[in-house]
C-alpha cells in the first residue's frame, strides 16, 4: 500500500535510541524547553505557560478598560453623593460586583478553553490506515466523516486536517486560534480567547455579573442625577455638577442592551445544553427531518442541564503547557514529522505560514508552486486551493495569518455583544454572534469559501469537496 502522505513517519524516529546516541553533547547545551514554547496553535502564553490567550487579543484591553473606567468614574463621582444621601451599601455592592466581573473576565481570557492537542504522528498514521482510500497521491480524497451513535442518535464526526484526527462530538476547530476546542462555543474577541468546555462557566459568570454591574451602575447614576436635580435647580445643573455621570450613562445605556440580550441568549443555551456553534448551525433544530432532530446531549430537564454545564466537574487542561519537552523531541527529527515544528523558530505569522507551506509540500509532494499559497489572504488563491485540493485546513491559516489584522479589525467593527448599536433583537444578536464564529468570519473574504463554509457549516476542512 503506497501511502505517500505519511511515508516520512517512522516510529524509529520516535524512539530515543538513534537520536540520543548521536548528540549527547547537545542535550547538555540547550536548556530544557517547556511544551508551550513549541505549541503549534496560535496562542500566546504568559507567566511561563500558566496563562494562555489567543494571538488576536486586541480587544481585551478595551473590554477591561471600559469596565475599569466606568466603575472608576462611578466610585469617584457618584458614590460619595449616594453614600451621603442613601446608604453605604451602594459602593460595597458595586465593589463586590466589580471584583467578580474582573475576576471572571480574566479567568475566561486566560484559561485554556479545552484545546485538544494535535494527534501524534503514529496516531495520525493509524487513522489514515483505517480510512484508507485508493491511495492515490494526486488529489485529496473526499472529506472524511465518521458516523457514530450517541444516545441512539446518529452524529457525524468530521476529520480535522490540521489536527489530524476525527474531532470528538461537539468539538470544533477555531481557525483564529488554529486549535480544535472541545465543546466549542464561539471565539470571543472581547475576551480575547475561545469559549469552550473549560471556560464556558467563567464566560457565563462574566456576562451575568456584567449585566448586574451595568444595570446597577445605570440605576445608581439615574438615582444620583434625579436626587441632585430635585435638590438643586433642575436636571441641567445636576449634569453640570457631575459630568462624569453622563459618560457612565451613555456607556451603560449602550452596553446594557447587548449584555442583557447576550445573557438571555446564553441562559437559553445553558438550559437546553446547546452551544452557540450548534445553535447557529441548527444542528439539532429539526431542519433535517423529524427523526434526526433532538439534541442528544440534553438531559431533558432545565435544572439538570444548567447544573451540568455550569457546576459540572472541571476537566483538566489537555495541552500540558508547563511540561518539559523531552530533549530528543526538541531536536527536529530527520523524518520531519509534521507535528514536530522546529521549536526554535519564533512563532510569527510568517513562520506559521512557512510551516504550513512546508506541510503542504510534504503532503502533496509538489514543487515550489505552493509558495504562492502563502499570501496575504488573496481570495484568488481559493480556486487554486480548491483545484489541487490541498488540505483546506492548512489553507485557513494562510488566510488567517495573512489577513489576521484585517479580521481583527473586522471583528472589532462588526457587532459583537457589547456595543452593537442595532443588535437588540435575538435574530440580530445571532447575526452578530454569527460574525464571531470564525468559520463564517473567514468565509467573508471569498465567495467560494463562504458558500462552502456556509453550506457545510463547519468551516474549512470539508468546504473543499473537489470536482463535483
Amino acid at each position: 500500500m503506497k501511502n505517500c502522505e505519511y511515508q516520512q513517519i517512522d516510529p524509529r524516529a520516535l524512539s530515543a535510541s538513534p537520536l540520543s546516541a548521536q548528540n549527547p553533547a547537545e542535550k547538555k547545551v540547550q536548556r530544557p524547553r517547556r511544551k508551550w514554547e513549541a505549541f503549534p496553535g496560535k496562542n500566546r502564553f504568559f507567566c511561563d505557560g500558566r496563562l494562555i490567550l489567543a494571538r488576536q487579543n486586541g480587544v481585551l484591553p478595551l473590554t477591561l478598560g471600559l469596565i475599569v473606567v466606568t466603575s472608576g468614574l462611578f466610585f469617584a463621582f457618584d458614590c460619595p453623593f449616594l453614600v451621603q444621601h442613601l446608604t453605604v451599601c451602594i459602593p460595597m455592592i458595586g465593589g463586590v460586583l466589580f471584583l467578580f466581573v474582573v475576576a471572571s473576565l480574566l479567568r475566561t481570557s486566560f484559561t485554556d478553553p479545552g484545546i485538544l492537542p494535535r494527534a501524534t504522528a503514529d496516531e495520525a498514521a493509524d487513522i489514515e490506515r483505517q480510512i484508507d482510500t485508493s491511495g492515490s497521491s494526486t488529489y485529496r480524497p473526499p472529506p472524511r466523516t465518521k458516523e457514530i451513535l450517541i444516545n441512539q442518535q446518529v452524529v457525524k464526526l468530521k476529520y480535522c486536517f490540521t489536527c489530524k484526527m476525527f474531532r470528538p462530538p461537539r468539538t470544533s476547530h477555531c481557525s483564529l486560534c488554529d486549535n480544535c476546542v472541545e465543546r466549542f462555543d464561539h471565539h470571543c474577541p472581547w475576551v480575547g480567547n475561545c469559549v469552550g468546555k473549560r471556560n464556558y462557566r467563567y464566560f457565563y459568570s462574566f456576562i451575568i455579573s456584567l449585566s448586574f454591574l451595568t444595570s446597577f451602575i445605570f440605576g445608581c447614576v439615574i438615582t444620583h442625577i434625579t436626587l441632585r436635580s430635585q435638590a438643586g435647580k433642575g436636571i441641567v445643573q445636576a449634569i453640570q455638577e457631575s459630568p462624569a455621570s453622563v459618560v457612565e450613562l451613555v456607556i451603560c445605556f449602550f452596553s446594557i442592551w447587548s449584555i442583557l440580550g447576550l445573557s438571555g441568549f446564553h441562559t437559553y443555551l445553558v438550559a437546553s445544553n446547546l452551544t452557540t456553534n450548534e445553535d447557529i448551525k441548527g444542528s439539532w433544530s429539526g431542519k433535517r427531518g423529524a427523526e434526526e432532530s433532538g439534541n442528544p446531549y440534553t438531559y431533558s430537564n432545565i435544572i439538570t442541564n444548567c447544573c451540568v454545564t455550569l457546576c459540572g466537574p472541571m476537566p483538566p487542561s489537555l495541552i500540558d503547557r508547563r511540561g518539559f519537552l523531552p530533549p530528543d523531541e526538541a531536536i527536529p527529527a530527520a523524518a520531519a514529522s509534521e507535528m514536530e515544528l522546529p521549536p526554535f523558530t519564533p512563532k510569527s505569522d510568517a513562520n506559521m505560514c512557512t510551516q504550513s507551506t512546508k506541510d503542504v509540500l510534504e503532503r502533496m509532494l509538489h514543487s515550489s508552486d505552493f509558495h504562492g499559497l502563502c499570501p496575504s489572504g488573496n481570495p484568488k488563491t481559493s480556486p487554486l486551493v480548491q483545484e489541487v485540493s490541498s488540505a483546506p485546513a492548512t489553507a485557513e491559516p494562510y488566510l488567517s495569518s495573512g489577513c489576521s489584522r484585517q479580521l481583527a479589525r473586522q471583528a472589532v467593527v462588526d457587532p459583537c455583544p457589547l456595543l452593537s448599536p442595532v443588535a437588540f433583537s435575538k435574530s440580530n444578536r445571532r447575526d452578530s454572534l454569527h460574525s464571531i464564529n470564525p468559520a463564517f468570519r473567514l468565509a467573508s473574504p471569498s465567495p467560494t469559501l463562504s458558500r462552502s463554509a456556509l453550506v457545510l457549516g463547519d468551516g474549512p476542512d470539508i468546504g473543499f469537496i473537489p470536482q463535483h
Binding site: 524509529r12 496516531e123 490506515r129 444516545n151 459568570s205 466537574p313 483538566p316
Partner: protein, 169 residues
C-alpha cells in the same frame, strides 16, 4: 545482549525504569490505539474491543479488565452529583479563586489513574513487551499501547501487519 534484553523483559518487569531504558534496546514494533467510545455522549469512555494486534500478546480478559477499570475511573471523575455541584458552587462563590489552593476532584482521580496505569504496566504489560501510555498524554483521545519486539528476534516475530511499525532493517 539480545538474550539479556529478552530475559529482562520477561523476568524483571517490576522495575518500570528498566523498560524505559530498554526501549533503546528493545525496538518499537507497533502501536495500537484504543479509540473513544461515544455511544453514551461526550463522557470519557474507551472502546473495549480487543485489537487484533494484541491477540498473540495478551489475554482478552486482562485487557478488558484494564480498559473497564479505566472507564470506571473516568466515570467517577466526571460523575455529576452532589459533590461536584458543591465544588462548582463553592468555586463560583469564591470567584474561582479556590482553585488556586484546592485540587479538583478530577485531578485527584487522574492521579489515581496514573498510578493504576503504572502498576498495570509493571505487573502485566511489561512482561509481555507492551506499554500503555496514559490517555491524558494523548489528549484523552486514545489509549496508546506500544508493542515492543526484542531486537534479536524481530525478523521472525514481527507479525505485525502495519506499515509504519516495521523495524526490519
Amino acid at each position: 545482549m539480545d538474550i539479556r534484553c529478552f530475559t529482562v523483559l520477561i523476568f524483571c518487569p517490576t522495575q518500570f525504569h528498566n523498560l524505559q531504558e530498554l526501549r533503546h534496546s528493545a525496538s518499537l514494533a507497533n502501536k495500537v490505539f484504543i479509540q473513544r467510545d461515544y455511544s453514551e455522549g461526550t463522557t470519557c469512555r474507551f472502546q473495549t474491543k480487543f485489537p487484533s494486534e494484541l491477540e498473540s500478546r495478551i489475554e482478552l480478559t486482562l485487557f478488558e479488565e484494564t480498559v473497564k477499570t479505566l472507564n470506571n475511573f473516568y466515570a467517577e471523575a466526571e460523575k455529576i452529583g452532589g459533590q461536584s455541584y458543591l465544588e462548582g458552587c463553592l468555586a463560583c462563590a469564591t470567584a474561582y479563586l479556590i482553585f488556586l489552593c484546592m485540587e479538583t476532584r478530577y485531578e485527584k482521580v487522574l492521579k489515581k489513574i496514573a498510578k493504576y496505569i503504572q502498576e498495570q504496566n509493571e505487573k502485566i504489560y511489561a512482561p509481555r513487551g507492551l506499554l500503555i501510555t496514559d490517555p491524558i498524554e494523548r489528549g484523552m483521545r486514545v489509549i496508546e499501547i506500544s508493542i515492543y519486539e526484542d531486537r534479536g528476534s524481530s525478523g521472525s516475530s514481527s507479525g505485525s501487519s502495519s506499515v509504519s511499525g516495521s523495524t526490519a532493517r
